[in-house]
Amino acid sequence: MDISRKQALTSNDAVLILTVVILPIHIWSILHVLEEMPAWLIRLNLWDVAGLISYTQVFALVESLLLFIPPVLLGLLIRRGWLGGYFTELTISIVIVVSLWAIAVQENFGTARNFNLAQELLWGGLFLLSFAVVIFFVYRLPRYHAAVRSLVGRITPLAIFYLGIDLVCLVVLLIRNV
């Protein structure tokens, strides 16, 4: 009996999910590293700059894995027919929406921290509404599935490139700490 055929997640689907997890986390991280880079180059030698880059990128890798593992485990546990067979599309869309919200919160963290109850309810409502929109797209727009898979498939090489950088950074950290 081929159990994998009954699981909601195939290995190809896992790669697509990994891609959408890796990209926002790494792009966000790299942008902020680049922002700091001029100051680092002034006060540090190149080996220490490599160290700082490595810590941030290895942390991005860990963060990506922490976000990636739960949906993968869930995908391995539930059957393919559940969620209407749209587990992968739903997961990809949710990760994209959650990432966009995380970026929005990061950009406005100072403001968000001081929200009153009414503002919290308003933004909480919008957060939930964005999920409703995602669910609508997944279940009501068949062309959305193909578009999502095609788009994420095209950017997968970029995610693999970032993973390669992470591995180099991991080696740098090992050298610095052993």
Partner: protein, 511 residues
């Protein structure tokens, strides 16, 4: 339910624990040998971060900010023209430790450490055979430097050991790569000037740490209504560090070299409740000309911050008084030299508040130095110009050691019987924008050659002044810039500074 031990008792016990881990083998047995010989005194450094001599009543400030330090000074040597090596913690502290100016040790950035050739050129390492080094710093910038020297210390207390809330993890996970991992953590979880580089986990971290900080702060609301003192998200109360000293100093192996870098009166200016309303008086500081880097801060806002800073000094002074009084009562200081100083000052004039500024006016670099020697019973006042780079040669002199030729300081007046008062140049450097391994071409340098002080703005554009000149004896408030009216003195000092710059930049010029 009654707790077995309270938080303070726990802190004391916890602080003793690393002593066992870090203690040099045999150090506790050698204690008796050295203490019975009594050859060398213990040395206790109390460094109050951001304490400007210009704000201390013991140095003539009109507000009575330092009555306890004034009592201490009655049995001490008071240096009136003492200068920091820079205008913030890193260069100021590194110069104090190494006896060299920032252009030598190169720790002149916010995240700076001394360059490798200077890592063991500090008074802890140079006296490691004779003394038991003990260090603690509330300020993580000073902690970064102390971490470089920890191999030569008997007891290296970490900032977290006496902190209320500790949100740092990197040094626990990557103890072999302290500085890079520490500042990476700051960027990843907290952001260094911008947003954190972690998209998701930093949000979780910030929510959890803010909750913990709020919880702790609520416990202290009665004593500290304005909030808890903090820097880089490390929260503390000064009383805990003072209590540690009172409880543990007497049991340290003799002779010890204890360095305690305590943050008050560094901002935020959150004094204990009874000091908050101090100095609501009619004192109006002298109006001074604006500087080209002047911010838009209003005079009244700056003056209110000055009042709170003064109140914060009074709070730090009261804790210093409690420390000295208790240690003296217990006889702990009988063979101990106490050195009270600071790493840099603070500015509340010309529209500038704080010490993150390119300027090097007196309130920023004129710092206290008060040294009480064992058995000293009367006050001695010294008006010669001295610098924090003089501490290292003085310490080495006390231990009968040669002054190394790389040291840029001199033995302090009052310690060297052969010392003759001669004119000398003292420097303070601000070079945050200068690359660490490049010639010094960006920043500000002050040259003090009594009675004059030249402030040179390196790489200044045409719209800005190139240098200012003040006569500190006639104009201690630095109001009248003499660079135009007295061009010969200005030109002479500027020429001396140019020669010095050529000399110190030589190793960094590309061949």
């Amino acid at each position: 339910m009654q707790k077995l031990i309270n938080r303070r008792q726990f802190l004391r016990l916890a602080a003793l624990f690393p002593m066992l881990l870090y203690a040099k083998p045999g150090s506790f047995t050698s204690i008796n040998q050295t203490s019975t010989s009594g050859k060398f005194p213990n040395i206790l450094f109390i460094v109050l971060d951001t304490l400007s001599a210009r704000h201390m009543s013991v140095y003539g400030y009109p507000r009575d900010t330092t009555p306890n330090i004034a009592r201490f000074a009655e049995r001490a040597t008071v240096y009136h023209s003492h200068y920091a090596g820079g205008n913030f913690t890193t260069p100021g502290t590194a110069s104090l430790f190494t006896g060299t100016y920032p252009w030598s040790h190169r720790a002149f950035h916010m995240h700076g450490v001394v360059v490798e050739p200077y890592r063991r050129k500090n008074f802890f390492s140079l006296t490691a055979q004779e003394t038991y080094g003990v260090t603690y710093s509330h300020n993580l910038l000073a902690e970064s430097l102390l971490n470089q020297f920890k191999g030569d210390l008997g007891l290296y207390l970490k900032t977290r050991d006496l902190a209320l809330v500790d949100t740092e993890y990197s040094d626990l996970v990557f103890p072999e790569d302290y500085n890079a991992s520490f500042w990476s953590e700051a960027l990843i979880l907290r952001g260094t000037g911008s947003r954190p580089s972690s998209l998701f986990l930093s949000l979780l971290y910030q929510i959890l740490s803010k909750n913990e900080i709020s919880r702790i702060s609520r416990q202290y609301t009665q004593r500290f209504p304005l909030g808890l003192s903090q820097i880089n998200d490390v929260y503390y109360v000064l009383e805990d560090a003072v209590d540690w000293l009172i409880s543990n100093l007497g049991s340290l192996p003799n002779p010890y070299m204890a360095y305690f870098h305590l943050l008050p009166p560094h901002e935020p200016y959150f004094p204990r409740r009874e000091f908050i309303n101090y100095f609501r008086d009619d004192y109006k500081p002298m109006a001074k000309p604006t500087h080209f880097s002047t911010s838009t801060d209003q005079v009244n806002a700056v003056n209110e911050q000055r009042r709170l800073y003064d109140a914060h000094i009074a709070y730090a002074d009261s804790e210093f008084g409690r420390l000295i009084d208790t240690l003296q009562k217990e006889g702990t200081l009988n063979n101990t030299m106490v050195i009270l100083t600071s790493d840099h000052g603070e500015l509340f004039e010309r529209g500038i508040r704080g010490h993150v500024t390119p300027t090097l006016y007196e309130p920023l670099i004129n710092i206290p130095l008060i040294i009480s020697r064992p058995g000293q019973t009367s006050r001695e006042d010294i008006y010669d110009v001295t610098s924090c780079v003089d501490i290292l040669p003085t310490v080495l002199h006390l231990f009968g050691k040669e002054i190394p030729n790389w040291c840029e300081g001199k033995i302090l007046p009052g310690f060297n019987v052969n010392n003759t008062t001669t004119s000398r140049n003292i420097y303070a450097v601000e070079a945050k924008r200068n690359a660490v391994h490049a010639p010094l071409t960006k920043g500000t340098i002050a040259l003090i050659q009594k009675p004059y002080k030249l402030i040179h703005y390196l790489n200044s554009n045409k719209a800005q002044v190139k240098y200012e000149l003040y006569n500190l004896e006639n104009d201690p408030e630095e109001v009248e810039d003499l660079s135009i009216s007295n061009p010969s003195v200005a030109s002479d000092l500027f020429h001396q500074l140019e020669i010095k710059l050529t000399d110190i930049n030589q190793p960094y010029l590309k061949k």
